[in-house]
């Protein structure tokens, strides 16, 4: 047991708020005495609630630490200021109202903090995050701090446009219903010329994929400037559409150094008839919201690559949970977001990942602690976001992917398409046949989890490329323990 755990912590302390004249005596006062710990406070339906995992420094009281987070993310500074008395200060103070020890994690606490709606500007993720994560993450009395979940009131949600297209309208535009969409990221992600790059796009789309994708760091480099890529890619998309009779697309990455340049690239993509453009998470929340608005105006689907998120989402004790990023991005208005595969090469606990997918796709998220969802969250008919599963997945996992992720997602097989021994087109066909076979079998009433390998083997009898894919990748799994795992696991009730 670590040192912090040896100090007894009282998480059920009564309110210690100092009132009247004494509250405004000059000097330093504990945050819990300044009104940032209010255990009797009942959050209003219109409050924004944040739930943090706090790890106080040794000897720091957990309730005081929670009150400090509430204070520093709302009105407080390190000392009493008389100018508070010029405001309706009790309303503007964020209130820590509940602190729970984290099960099985000594020294860690879940702190619930309520913020009045008036603290936030309408429709601005930048404003929201400047408050909630702006100041507190470097706070010295805490060893570590993680934003685990947030609850947004309907009134606040209604100030956001949300996804520019949404799952249903995306499917209508693409005329693709009843199965996950299929994609692939062009590889190698750096070094191909525009002409060679378009070849990969053409082969993959012709072979049966719905989308191909630029990778996060494909922007406009010396080996391929962005206009070259856009022109050759759209030749490939249109050719593939003509040979298949199906709508095809390629996520043209418009990430650039300035907003002006991003708009210029987006406009060119539109002129060329692309159905979709792509941005990276690293462009920032305001830029993401701007591109979402541009996409709504221009009938464009917006794909978001979550570049950089692993720097702050992965570790359990510090940073921001990806479920919070998912909520912010649904509000900010992206149509696609990479949200994990469970079975692939990148971090992803099955329960946590299901939580992310539910946040992106459902109109209402009930509390589900096992999936990491701490709040009941209505979405007020805000468009849903299509989760994208990408990174180290292949056709042989199709039954697991469909079972775990459902059908409203994009399955992206980059290496699993382009690395096929018989070529890119064969790789794409293998994936499409595996996918259609699995959806078909599921709808026909078969148990795909148990019968999946047999269903694939049967399909491989009429599809040689699938046979080759299954033979090539049959033993590939990425079976590592997740770092971002649930704190709550179902327990078996023991009866006497």
């Amino acid at each position: 047991m670590n040192e912090a755990a040896k100090i007894p912590q009282d998480t059920h302390q009564k309110s210690q708020t100092v009132r009247g004249k004494a509250r405004y005596q000059s000097g330093v006062m504990e945050y819990r005495k300044m009104g940032y710990w209010e255990p009797d406070y009942v959050p209003k339906d219109t409050d924004i609630i944040a739930m943090f995992r706090i790890s106080p420094q040794d000897g720091v009281d957990a309730v005081e630490a929670a009150a400090a987070v509430a204070g520093e993310s709302s009105t407080a500074t390190w000392t009493v200021v008389w100018t508070d008395r010029l405001t309706a200060t009790e309303k503007y103070r964020a209130k820590a109202y509940r602190v729970d020890p984290v099960p099985g994690a000594p020294g860690q606490f879940f702190a619930y903090i309520a913020y009045d709606l008036d603290l936030f500007e309408a429709g601005s993720i930048a404003n929201l995050t400047a408050s909630i994560i702006g100041n507190v993450f470097g706070f010295k009395p805490l060893k570590a701090l993680r934003l685990e979940d947030m609850r947004f009131p309907v009134a606040y949600i209604k100030t956001f446009q949300g996804p520019s297209t949404g799952i249903v309208v995306e499917r209508e535009r693409l005329d693709k219903f009843g199965r996950p969409l299929l994609g692939a990221t062009v590889k190698p992600k750096l070094g191909l010329s525009g002409r060679n790059y378009g070849r990969v796009v053409y082969e993959a789309l012709k072979g049966g994929l719905d989308f191909t994708k630029d990778d996060e760091n494909i922007n406009s480099q010396s080996f391929m400037h962005w206009r070259e890529r856009f022109l050759y890619c759209m030749e490939a998309v249109n050719r593939a559409q003509a040979v298949t009779g199906e709508i095809k697309g390629t996520y043209l990455n418009i990430t650039a150094g300035t907003m002006e340049e991003m708009y210029a690239r987006a406009e060119f993509a539109k002129q060329l008839g692309s159905t979709i453009v792509m941005i990276d998470l690293v462009i920032g929340y305001t830029a993401i919201q701007s591109m979402s608005h541009w996409c709504r105006k221009n009938d464009m689907i917006l794909h978001l690559h979550r570049a950089g998120h692993g720097t702050y989402t992965r570790q359990k004790t510090h940073g921001i949970s990806f479920r919070v990023i998912s909520k912010w991005m649904r509000l900010a208005g992206v149509d696609h977001i990479h949200a994990g595969t469970v079975v692939g090469k990148l971090e992803g606990d099955p329960n946590m990942t299901k939580g992310f997918y539910d946040i992106l796709r459902l109109d209402h998220n009930p509390i589900n602690l096992q999936h990491g969802i701490f709040f009941d969250q209505p979405w007020a008919s805000l468009n849903a976001v299509m989760p994208v599963a990408s990174g180290g997945i292949h056709a042989g996992q199709m039954h697991q992917l469909l079972d775990l992720l459902g059908e409203d997602c994009v399955l992206q097989f980059g290496g699993g398409t382009i690395g096929h021994p018989a070529g890119i087109q064969a790789g794409a066909t293998a994936n499409r046949v595996a996918l259609e076979s699995m959806v078909f079998a599921r709808n026909s009433g078969r148990n795909i989890v148990e019968e999946g390998p047999q269903i694939l083997a049967d399909a491989a009898k009429f599809c040689l490329p699938l046979r080759q894919a299954l033979d090539t990748w049959k033993d590939v799994t990425f079976d590592y323990a997740s770092t971002d795992s649930p704190d709550f696991v179902p327990s078996v009730a023991v009866s006497n």
């Binding site: 005329d175 219903f177 298949t244 109109d363 008919s381 959806v439």
Partner: protein, 139 residues
Amino acid sequence: MRITQGAFSFLPDLTDDQIAAQVQYCLEKGWAVNLEYTDDPHPRNTYWEMWGLPMFDLKDAAGVLLELKECRKHFGDRYIRLSAFDASHGWESVRLSFIVNRPANEPGFKLQRTEMEGRHVQYTTVPYSADKPEGQRYK
């Protein structure tokens, strides 16, 4: 060529029993199944001709199969697709759509290029069969 619109175009053509199993799945979800046909399979041709109204309130897939047989009698030389519509709030659109009949010969599409300013090319997809009037395209 083989047009690959719909959810199951990469599988061998479905038998009626296989179609019935998919229909039953849709009906059990409470979706309304409908049939549409066309001889203009352009990927942007959204509105195929409706074979009657969507079959609301149907419980047994056999009803859909009867309609499909009837539809094939009249339009067996064209594309026929089966769609399932979900009216529940938040979706209110098609849930599943797949082709259940194809013309014997699928000539496919011509890609026309118009060279514009710079290296910009404007693309137009034209079905080879579109030159003939509707109803005579796959005779």
